[in-house]
Amino acid sequence: MNDEAGQGLFEAAFAVPPIGEQERMLEAVLFASREPLSMRALEERLPRGCDVGEALVGLGRKYEGRGVQLARVGDAWAFRTAADLGFLMSREVEETRKLSRAAIETLAIVAYHQPVTRAEIEEIRGVSVSAGTLDQLMEMGWVKLGRRRMTPGRPMTFVVTQGFLDHFGLGSERDLPGIAELRAAGLLDNRPSPETPPSEDAPEGQGELLD
């Protein structure tokens, strides 16, 4: 028997599994992975013709209220323990590096203002961002480089990663706490200063705000 025949048999036997079976498959694949799996990765793993989106909905519903939850992480999915049971897991707690206040604020600014340039971060915080801060956040896998801004100088931008969303249990950037209110209040706008502001790197900040 050759490959093609095998493939044919396989497709005949498994011609799009019923949705319940698709859910089982998704469940097994997601369970086996520690890292979130993207929709695309899931589609690649499951037999052709499966409706991953629908199966995810069904699977998520099965886990509602359970000790383990199906969590959305950006455009990926993963099983995570329910947050209210964290106290049982004291033995699994991983020691985490304590972040400085500067690092935490920088992280928040990247998350809420992304894609954001270094000059914009400095303009918001009112102090220069030390070289190590962004490097540390990048090393932790929470911040990465985004596309260059199409303004004079073409500065690099920074964005948050899927690892960031996963760590803070965010389905997407839209789930950042209070982001809708902040946006409505205009606090996420890049409002240019009416004149050359006092800080020395401001002119450049302004330049970037022209887009």
């Binding site: 369970f31 323990t81 329910a82 699994e92 604020e105 928040a108 102090v127 249990g169 209070g178 020395e200």
Partner: protein, 273 residues
């Protein structure tokens, strides 16, 4: 901090000074300080009195100066700017004056403060969330029943940049040294020619005197030729060698003088003595 500072007799002044020192060090720049001062007005940041805030800040800077506390330049730049803003807010607007009005500037400062405050709040909310590895956990035991490993290599842009940075900085830290080109020194040539004088009889072209490993590559050959020629002149001067050339750019011929070696030898001893 000046040493005599603690000799100040007034305890109150000292305490005030210490409070200030702690404050300056605790602030991350003028905007941070302004935000703290603004909070003391206990009103919505949008209704904050920028005039009052400017006065508070200038008062702070004055006090710091009086107590001889070193203030970073950006604190002083901010002070100058706030003084300017204050004058704009107090004086009636000059219609001929171009540029933003005092109110515009004040509104922007209020916006900056409000935005910074908002980001601090957002940061706190973010850190207050359930975190992976602390409150929420991933599957602990990933299954080991898998076989046929397909390796995919992975690298991020940061890895790439870091690698390039490593190569670039490596050059920055090599100790400074001048790279010498391939140069055959006259001293080397002299020593070598003295060594072979005795084994050589009759006229020989200069090229024949060059060391074997300097013969082939252009730069090395030129350097060895020049050095050997200069050495030959030196030996001829000492009477150890005769030099002959038929015409301009013609080959140069060298012949050791049978008695000359001694003269050169004496000369050399003289130098050594």
């Amino acid at each position: 901090m000046p040493e005599d500072f603690f000799d100040a007799d007034s305890t109150a002044a000292r305490l005030a000074a210490e409070a200030l020192v702690i404050d300056v060090e605790g602030f991350e720049g003028p905007l941070d300080l302004l935000l703290t001062l603004a909070r003391s007005q206990k009103v919505d940041l949008r209704r904050i009195s920028i005039l009052k805030l400017s006065e508070q800040y200038l008062g702070f800077v004055e006090a710091a100066k009086r107590l001889r506390i070193e203030l970073a330049a950006d604190y002083l730049v901010m002070a100058a700017w706030l003084a300017f803003l204050k004058s704009r807010l107090l004086l009636p607007p000059d219609p001929a004056d171009e540029g933003p009005s005092g109110d515009d500037l004040a509104a922007h400062l209020a916006f900056q403060l409000e935005r910074l405050e908002a980001m601090r709040g957002a940061a706190a909310q973010l850190m207050g969330r359930d975190q992976l590895g602390r409150d929420v956990f991933a599957r602990g035991d990933t299954e080991t029943v898998r076989r046929d490993v397909r390796v995919t290599y992975e690298a991020s842009l940061v890895d790439l940049m870091r690698a390039y940075a490593r190569i670039k900085t490596k050059d920055d830290f090599t100790p400074l040294h001048f790279r010498r080109g391939p140069v055959f020194a006259m001293e080397q040539a002299l020593e070598r020619m003295r060594g072979i004088l005795g084994t050589c009889f009759g006229w020989q072209e200069l090229a024949a005197w060059l060391p074997e490993d300097w013969l082939h590559e252009g730069k090395r050959r030129r350097s060895a030729t020049a050095a050997s020629f200069a050495a030959a002149l030196e030996l001829a001067k000492n009477g150890a060698l005769e030099i002959r050339q038929e015409g301009a750019f013609a080959p140069i011929w060298l012949k050791p003088r049978q008695d000359g070696g001694l003269a050169d030898q004496r000369q050399q001893d003289g130098e050594a003595g």
